[in-house]
Each structure stands twice: as C-alpha cells, then as structure tokens.
C-alpha cells in the first residue's frame, strides 16, 4: 500500500518540478534582492521587521497560490486527460490515489518552502551579520504557513473532486478568505440565535481556522509564540486535512470517470 502511495506522490512531485512549479523560487529570490534598496530607506530596527514581514508574506502567498492552483488540478487534470485510466485499472484504490496525490503536492510545497526559508535566513545573515535566538522564532511562523498549505491543498482536492477546476479555484480561494476571518465569523455566529444561529455557528467552525496560522506580524517583532499554540495548530491541521481528504475520497470513489 505504501509503495503505491509513495510512487503516486513521487510522480506528482516530479510532474510539479517538470512543470516548472519551483520556478517561483526564482521570483522569490528576485523579490528579496529587489527589496534591498528599499530596506535602506528605513531605520535599522524596522529593516529586520520589514524583511521578515515581506519574505514570510511572500512564502505564504506563493505557497497558497501553488496549493490552490496545483491542488485543484491534481485530480481533475488526470481525469480530463484520461491519464487516470491506466492507473486505476491497476491494483490502486481511489483512496490511495487521492492520498498519493495529496502527499506529492505537500512534498512539493515542503521542498519549496524549505528553499525559501534558506533564502530568508541568508538575507537575514547578510543584513544583521549574525543570528540571534529570536531568529529561530521565524521557523515557527514558517511552519505555521506550511500548515496553512496542508489545509488548503485538502480543500482544493475536496472541491475538485466534485466541481470544475474554475469553480474549485473559486471555492478554495473563498475558503481561504473566509478562513482568514474565521474568528470574526465565530463571533458573529455567537450573537445570532435560533436555527440560523446554529447553522451560522456550524459554518463558522467548518471554514478553516487560518488566522491563528498566520503569526508573521508577531514573529517580526520577536514576540513569543506559546508552545501550546504550536501543538494545537499542528493537531488542528492534521484533523482538518484528514476530514477534507476523507470527504474527497468519499466523493471521488463514487464518481464515474469521464
């Protein structure tokens, strides 16, 4: 079982690499270089803050764009081009296929994010000439960003298991936006009553809780991230991803291929 999932994951990774998904790293590097003159304009203390805010926001945006747009095409492209036929006519379960695809994209993003992280630290070193303990905090923020990708790939996969790529992208994007407002949604829901209130409350918990996965602004000021948050966020992401992948498998298993 694991060899098949691994083979599918590896093939997905290889496809992403050959489809030049990792080219975004070049843009990331250019971005870091291009901001150097900008950094000169502001005072020493804020330079570091800006560098962290800018590079981590870029990591997040690049990652989310890849998660959504590669994520929605993971399965739909294989159905559309019928490359799925020779795969599923082998002893490969549909669940294994989905899981393999998921792991492949997650792996791609892991490599991508690690490469960007290296870039961030190199830029920091060039700027400050040495590392401080606070710099390790940045890793936590990046780890949380990666958790965001994990959540969003799951959603993209889920949507693409029953709707067209365009709609899936739209859904996934709106889930990302709604997820960034999740706390507000919960607040609103708590104030409404009756059946609608219940519905609103359920909806506010179903959207991904993304706000607590974005601590970029905090780490840019070396603010402490509680260890409990790291644990809870990790667990939350695993659960949310499990739920979305399971739902995707349930839908995909019942689906006729074109």
């Amino acid at each position: 079982m694991t060899t098949r999932i691994r083979a599918i994951a590896f093939n997905t990774f290889r496809e992403a690499v050959r489809d030049r998904v990792l080219y975004n790293l070049v843009f990331f590097a250019l971005l870091l270089v291009a901001t150097a003159p900008l950094l000169g304009e502001i005072s020493i203390g804020v330079q570091r803050v800006l560098l962290i805010n800018l590079s981590l926001s870029a990591i997040s945006i690049f990652g989310i764009v890849i998660s959504i747009f590669v994520g929605i095409s993971l399965v739909s492209k294989e159905i559309e081009r019928r490359t799925l036929y020779p795969v599923l006519s082998r002893p490969v379960g549909r669940g294994e296929f989905i899981l393999g695809k998921y792991c492949g994209l997650a792996g791609t993003l892991l490599v991508n994010t690690m490469a960007m992280t290296t870039g961030v630290y190199v830029a920091l070193l060039l700027m400050t000439r040495s590392f401080t303990r606070a710099d390790a905090n940045i890793l936590i923020a990046i780890y949380f960003l990666f958790l965001q990708f994990i959540v969003i790939i799951g959603l993209a996969l889920l949507f693409s298991s029953f709707s067209s790529p365009l709609l899936s992208a739209l859904f996934a994007l709106s889930m990302f936006v709604a997820g960034s407002f999740a706390a507000d949604l919960r607040g609103f829901a708590a104030m409404s009553h009756g059946p609608e209130g219940l519905l609103a409350r359920a909806a506010s918990y179903v959207v991904p809780n993304l706000a607590s996965l974005n601590v970029i602004t905090r780490v840019s000021h070396d603010q402490f991230i509680p260890a409990a948050l790291v644990g809870y966020n990790t667990l939350y992401t695993l659960l949310y991803a499990t739920a979305t992948i399971t739902a995707a498998v349930l839908i995909f298993s019942r689906r006729d291929l074109k």
């Binding site: 900008l38 304009e41 502001i42 005072s43 020493i44 203390g45 804020v46 803050v49 800006l50 962290i52 805010n53 800018l54 926001s57 997040s60 945006i61 669940g95 990302f176 936006v177 960034s180 407002f181 999740a182 706390a183 507000d184 919960r186 607040g187 609103f188 104030m191 918990y205 179903v206 809780n209 993304l210 706000a211 607590s212 974005n214 970029i216 602004t217 905090r218 840019s220 000021h221 603010q223 509680p226 409990a228 948050l229 809870y232 966020n233 667990l235 939350y236 659960l239 949310y240 499990t242 739920a243 399971t246 739902a247 498998v249 349930l250």
Partner: protein, 287 residues
C-alpha cells in the same frame, strides 16, 4: 463506512481544537469588527498579511513627511491618519509611535503642530505596548515641550520608570519636571537622551537640530550681554565682532552650530545668518 466515521470524528475534533486555539491565541474583540474604522478595515482586508502592509504604510509615512518637508509645506493633513493605519495594522511598530508623535507635535514647518493627535497616537502605543518604556518617555516629552504640562509629564516619567528595563534617568526626569522644567538645561538633557538612544535616522537628525537650536538659544543672550558690557566699558556701541575681540571680550568670531558666524546687528541684537537651518531657535531669529 469507516471513511464516513473518520470524516465525522476528525471534523468534530477539529471544532474542539478551534476552541483550544482561541484560548491560547485570542482574536480581536467583537466591537472592533462591528464598528469597523477605516484602519481596522484595512487590517481585516489584509487577510493576515497586516505586518507587511504596516511596513508599506510606514514607508509611505516617512516618504510623505520627507516630501512635504522638503517643499516646506505647512500642511501635514495625511500624517495622523497614515500613522493610525500603520499602527493599527501592526500595533507593535514602536518606531511609528515614537517618530509619529514627535513630528505630529512639533510646530510647522518641521511638524504638524497637532499635539492632540500626538498624544492620542502615543497613548495608543502605550496601550498596545505597555512594556516599552521609551513610549512613556516620548509621551512625557510631548506633554513637556508641546503642551507645557509639566505635572503630567512628571507623572508619565514616573510611570515609565516603573516599566522593567526602563532607563534609570526616567526617574531623574520625573524629578526634574517638578523642579526645573522651564530650564534650558533640562530640555538639552532630554534631547541629548533622544539623540543617544534613537536608532531612527530622522529622529536622530531632529534631535540634533534641537540640540543645535538650544546652543543658539544659550549663546545669543550671552553674546548680547557681551555687547552691553562693551557699551558699559567704552560708552560706544561696537560696530563689529572685531571691536569685541580687540577689547578682549571675545577670542574669535563667534559661530553658530552650522559653522556660520553670528550676524552682528547695528541695534545691538545678535541673529543667526540662516534660521531655516536652525528651525527650533527661540532667540536670534531675524525680525
């Protein structure tokens, strides 16, 4: 069947986790969401990238101020709202409070001359960053120099001195506010502190100008008293610095902090050659 079970369990467990996360990482209070001010709206719309947006706003503030300053405009209408947005997006951007309140407070052309806005901004800074003693220092400063509220300044210095890690002279300043607030030496002491402690280029330059202006404020009365002394000794009005040097009252031609000689006016007054280079002087301004 198993899959459906996994789906339900994992979804339900994720709800529990959301509550746990809320507990350790609380989100903004509801009223902030309901009564959306424009900075608060910008923050919501930033989808979590508020830090980056804050930095962008912050750079805009600095550029806006620099541009206006160069043209010697007396209008800094957008300064306060821009600062408000930047600090709402990133409430921990300490430099924006320090810088912002200094330049909001300062009279035109080197500032907006709006000490109410300055106090509001720095107050927000202290609420968001109660452990930053420098913000107390900045507030006290605005109270002292802008509002001449010496009692208030003394209180703020006192409060700030209690913040862990506060500089020891915060306590000294609290006392000085009560004893000799009107003293030039006190002002000089404060600007020197800002000059020494500031990491921001603009704040440092500003402090330097203030220090230079204080030098002028001190020098002009001294020079004028020398002129009166010459008159008292010789009964004649001096016609140039040379007369004073010849009589031994001066050793060389006196120069202001920019290196330019002071101008000797025929009516016995002393002024600086170009007061624009020393915008904060209160003495020695040409009529």
């Amino acid at each position: 069947m198993i899959a459906a079970g996994v789906l339900v369990v994992s979804m339900a467990a994720s709800f529990v986790l959301v509550r746990k996360i809320e507990a350790v990482y609380p989100s903004a209070p509801m009223e902030d969401v309901l009564f959306i001010s424009s900075p608060e709206f910008v923050k919501r719309a930033s989808l979590g990238y508020s830090g980056l947006l804050a930095d962008i706003y912050w750079m805009r503030v600095v550029q806006y101020f620099g541009r206006k300053h160069q043209r010697e405009s007396k209008e800094y209408k957008a300064l306060a709202p821009l600062l408000d947005i930047a600090t709402t997006l990133d409430p921990n951007l300490v430099v924006a409070y320090e810088w912002g309140s200094t330049f909001l407070d300062q009279p035109p052309p080197s500032g907006a001359g709006d000490d109410e806005a300055a106090v509001a901004l720095i107050g927000k800074g202290i609420r968001n960053n109660p452990n930053e003693w420098r913000l107390y220092f900045t507030l006290a400063f605005v109270q002292y120099l802008g509002q001449h509220d010496y009692l208030g300044a003394a209180k703020t210095f006192e409060e700030g001195s209690k913040v862990p890690g506060a500089h020891p002279w915060m306590k000294i300043m609290a006392a000085k506010m009560l004893t000799d607030a009107g003293n030039l030496e006190t002002a000089r002491y404060m600007w020197q502190n800002i000059y020494d402690e500031s990491t921001d280029k603009n704040l440092k330059q500003n402090a330097e100008l203030h220090l230079a202006s204080l030098v002028v404020d001190q020098a002009v009365p001294q020079l004028e008293s020398l002129i009166s002394e010459f008159k008292a000794r010789t009964g004649d009005n001096p016609t140039s610095w040379r007369d004073l040097i010849a009589s031994g009252l001066l050793r060389s031609i006196p120069r202001d902090p920019t290196g330019t000689p002071y101008v000797f006016q025929s009516d016995g007054h002393v002024v600086v050659a170009d007061w624009r280079k020393l915008p904060f002087i209160t003495r020695g301004k040409p009529q």
